[in-house]
Symmetry: C2
Subunit: 365 residues, 2 copies
């Protein structure tokens, strides 16, 4: 078992990374304070795989347990599912001393996290991330939210969990495409904030792609710790934390343009990172060699080299509703070198269009 602590304004919380850790979920939740009831929120796929062990562990630790599932996929990050969770919590008689356990990937964590943060003005939340994206990124840092038709994560909160229990063994059940998509976020964290993590992924790329258990466990540990370090220093995204948005301005717009169906989140971020790196060469002096290293590692992980055909105008409109926009100007996080990010900044419009066209955007007349 390995563990680190994340600092948050509302209280520090532990992130435990432990192969096989799911079986001691109940004791972990108890150690964080909650007693009584635990509502486990999951999706139908994850619940079938890992629900029984999670529930058994919670019951052994004395919790009265209720399982609530939502349909798998990004489209569950909706007001309808949020509202349904509130009703489930009310029907369960959930109290402030009880717990909500988010057992699933980023969608479940974001949705259950927002529901827990807003029910009774905040019920303790324990994250049990089961996807790679969630283990290395979304479970840590307290960003929770749902999507509106107008854009991704437009409704949400900064609401740190009471604790995070990460079991890298759960990754063994992930479909290969999901796994590779998650590796995109590992690459992102390496490229934007941690050169040593980036170098590890470069060395281990083929083993990671093939799901080698030890390499994955190592990547999870390094990437989760790097994310924890960043959000401990900048919980509310005043500066440093925005580095983690590398690739996300375009990534979110691409996901929205596809109705959250065509590309997985990490795949959309890959296209965003390729765009970001190409812009970085011209705008912030990223050495061409480092751009090539980034794209090469993405290639070795068999991640997308371009976007599906997407109307350019729709992408530009999508980026214009990004949360990070100020005064109507879209801001990009760029990378002047491997392991380092610029503060969000506007980019040259002509250059941006050229890069988007290179990556597969279409001009529709």
């Amino acid at each position: 078992m390995a563990q680190f602590t994340v600092h948050a304004r509302s209280g520090d919380y532990p992130v435990v990374v432990e192969a096989g850790g799911l079986s001691r979920l109940g004791r972990f939740v108890r150690s964080l304070g909650p007693r009584g009831r635990a509502v486990v929120v999951s999706d139908a796929n994850v619940a079938a795989l890992h629900g029984p062990l999670a529930l058994r562990s919670l019951r052994s630790a004395g919790f009265s347990v209720r399982l609530v599932t939502v349909p798998p996929g990004e489209r569950s990050k909706s007001r309808r599912q949020l509202s349904a969770l509130w009703d489930h919590f009310a029907a369960s008689g959930l109290e402030r001393g009880d717990a909500v356990v988010a057992l699933g990937g980023g969608v479940v964590g974001d949705l259950a996290g927002l529901a827990a943060a807003t029910y009774l003005r905040g019920v303790p939340l324990v994250m049990v991330p089961t996807s790679l994206v969630a283990q290395v990124d979304s479970s840590i840092g307290g960003k929770v939210g749902i999507n509106l038709a107008a854009g991704k994560n437009l409704v949400g909160a900064f609401a740190p969990p009471r604790g995070v229990l990460t079991d890298p063994r759960l990754l063994a059940t992930l479909p290969a495409r999901q796994l590779r998509s998650g590796l995109a976020e590992v690459v992102k964290t390496g490229m934007a904030v941690d050169a040593r993590l980036f170098e590890f992924v470069e060395r281990a790329a083929l083993r990671l792609r093939d799901g080698d258990r030890a390499s994955l466990a190592r990547a999870v540990w390094l990437a989760a710790r790097a994310k924890g370090w960043v959000v401990s220093h900048d919980e509310h995204e005043g500066g440093l934390r925005s580095a983690l948005n590398f690739g996300h301005t375009l990534g979110h717009a691409l996901e929205a343009a596809s109705g959250y169906r065509g590309l997985l989140h990490g795949e959309a971020v890959v296209v965003g990172m390729r765009a970001g790196a190409r812009l970085s060469v011209a705008e912030v002096g990223l050495p061409e060699r480092d751009r090539a290293r980034l794209e090469a590692v993405l290639d070795r992980l068999e991640l997308p080299q371009r976007m599906p055909p997407t109307p350019l105008a729709r992408l530009l409109r999508g980026m214009a509703s990004d949360k990070k926009r100020r005064g109507g100007v879209v801001l990009w996080v760029l990378t002047p070198r491997v392991g380092s990010a610029s503060l969000p900044r506007p980019v040259d419009g002509r250059r941006l269009r050229a890069v988007l066209l290179e990556l597969g955007a279409r001009v529709v007349r």
Copy 2:
């Protein structure tokens, strides 16, 4: 102009109390940071009375302004209205550097406050309370929320405003019943935390009941400052702040039992305070003389002496879903003396039933 500062974890904020202050709303919002857009959330009644001046002031200060109104009344504290506000914010292109202005009573403040707290994970909120309850209580302290069928304020957040602008002159347009209902919260704050405020209300009761402008301005200042002092010391209701729930355990259950229609919030709290005081005599040694003082001042303010006929069982059920419940036990804030409150505690069930029957609850067979 008088002003005090409230301490909150996410940053201190000013509460300005100024007769005629509404005309300088625009400059006030600018002084707090926001630039660009301001979405003013109000209800149809308040918007008709005070909307034009508020909008003019914001425009003069350079804001691009949009007004959104919701139907007056507690029933607007709903997920439907919350969701509609999110859509309005998205349609306005609201950004994190813009502002939401809540112009109205407690309902508008609670609803707009939750919408602002959850849009883009938090857009600056400026409270402009127009009812007495809002001026002395709900605009200060950062509690925002909506109701579910299962209970009042079950969904919400602790989300302090960026600032509060209180103009006691706005009270001149309040219906007399609304005003008296607001005075109930002033009495509550006096009884539970500030004996000098209580004594002021005792002395000025008839002038306050009749809407005397100077007495009201004084009461607003004293009660708002007392509330600010309490929440500065206990933002998240770990102890001290729960004193302000005096009268509210039963009050919320009564409001829910009437479908949020029969009684105004303050009137329901009055019945709750009468019950709380009667229980306090037996349970925490409130001198009988002090119980009589409390009930006498409520009588002089022409506030309800009993509840409308309400099934006892429904009240007990309603209290059982109170947020302050722990392990299924309903907790009451009691008052051992004027100006002082006990921590939330269980009360004797038989005594509670007797008091509820005295106050008008009915046993239905």
